[in-house]
Assembly symmetry: D2
Homo-oligomer: 172 residues x 4
Amino acid sequence: MTEPVGTEEGRAITAFSARLHIPIQLRWGDLDAFNHVNNTSMLKLLEEARVRAFWRPDEGEEALSTAILDSGIDAGVITLVARQEIEYVAPVPYQRRPLEVQMWFGKLGGSSIEVCYEVYNDPSFEERVLYARSTAIIVLVNPATGRPTRITPEMRAVWAPYTGAPIVFAHG
Amino acid sequence: MTEPVGTEEGRAITAFSARLHIPIQLRWGDLDAFNHVNNTSMLKLLEEARVRAFWRPDEGEEALSTAILDSGIDAGVITLVARQEIEYVAPVPYQRRPLEVQMWFGKLGGSSIEVCYEVYNDPSFEERVLYARSTAIIVLVNPATGRPTRITPEMRAVWAPYTGAPIVFAHG
Amino acid sequence: MTEPVGTEEGRAITAFSARLHIPIQLRWGDLDAFNHVNNTSMLKLLEEARVRAFWRPDEGEEALSTAILDSGIDAGVITLVARQEIEYVAPVPYQRRPLEVQMWFGKLGGSSIEVCYEVYNDPSFEERVLYARSTAIIVLVNPATGRPTRITPEMRAVWAPYTGAPIVFAHG
Amino acid sequence: MTEPVGTEEGRAITAFSARLHIPIQLRWGDLDAFNHVNNTSMLKLLEEARVRAFWRPDEGEEALSTAILDSGIDAGVITLVARQEIEYVAPVPYQRRPLEVQMWFGKLGGSSIEVCYEVYNDPSFEERVLYARSTAIIVLVNPATGRPTRITPEMRAVWAPYTGAPIVFAHG
């Protein structure tokens, strides 16, 4: 179980689900001319966290137990982002320590999943900072047919413990 | 006034606002290992459309009349993306002709704007394809103080004709 | 025939070489935190120029007569960069007009080609600026075997008119 | 002292210098449509290795003793790549373990340095693979004047132990 990291209202609702914690190394090249991590680079970091959390590693590579998705054109399944929402809470300066991407499932559907993210600085920092929150709807697709393909019972069993309340964004 | 580009339900609601049409060149490097334009690359394209549509050009450069924002650390204003939502409607293959990014304002606030986007293939294609729809909340910020700064009357006057109905995404 | 490119003088006179001229749109996102086009972004621009100059377009797309290479995993040939050298002559600021990438062949080998590049600002600028010079050794490879594959007589015939003197870089 | 990592001729000459070893995390997004790390992404990795090896860390961050360069527009010095050469020895597949970038100085000049790189897979792999070799000429520049600025005696003292034989590339 994950403890609430702060007292902010919006975060409290997601604080009681089990989360994955994925460290992702920043690059100075992620900065833009405003000297902050570019907002599109942030999505690159979330993409990498997703790959590490859910895709099956090559033989001999270590990965989380949730990494059981055989993704690839050759594997018969690719994962497409159908929709993504992201809220940038604070500008991200360059830092050598990896960012910590916390992830959980807002929903496990038939052939799609809702992945929820919160991006923090490294746990070793005395003061934790929440940089961004995001939700992505990922669809499993058969690359040959272009049609959705179903989440297997194995995936569902392994991923279910990481299901939690979805992020609620303010709209309008 | 912009004519409806298609008959699709979801688009109809945005079809009656005046829109900016910005051609943005794809790069083969925008593709990922699935041989489609990567979803984060799409946000890069929207970023570039936004810069071309709203930032004041250098002396001697041509730009739309809406390009009146003096953005830059030196200029005293930077534009930060506070929130962005994007729906990927169809995979984007590499193509030499530029994509056409259509833009309008969903809302002109005090120090923030809601920019709406629809991304199509080039008008010269016989069959138009809608690839993505997105909404971004952009905040004008003073880089020295980190505080929001107000949209000027000049900006408001120039941008107002491009205000239209915001995109309505399905949630949940 | 191409004049020697090696001296300062010789560079200014590009009119005597048969060169391809490829306009490539910059993106604000190509800048880094130093507010210049990042040096690795420049290679991205050269990559895109190469694709547009040499890869066969999809049906219905327009391209130069030199664009006859069926590149792609499915096409049976991929192009790998075996070596690249680049000299950054002047920092590149963001600009709306496309950069002009001038290209020619320094050498047409058995299964590899040496591509030479010079990157300028747009011809519509009163003062032309040379931003970078580069040479890339490109190898045609069969993706199934990983082995080099030979340049066809058709390619050689079409590309030969654009053969010129290779760029001479100072070393050491 | 660094032991020779392999028996290859070309590498032997650089095997006796002290080297820095910088682990750099790959991203799936570094791959291109050929399903290999894109050649321009490789330069991004080298850029990041350089930043981590030579730029002074923020207070509280750990870094190598060679990281003493106060780089940044505000710091009064920026580092520009004047020239870079890279040889791609083997295609790089996606891997979770970081790549190991080995670095040393081929030359410490007045206001420029020659940085040499070799990129390997992680030392934990049973079989080490050399993926790329590169040399970059980096110039220290005062961003206010655009003029080169001199390497300080402190830098020279700290960096000198990592001076070694430059990489010799085959040309022509």
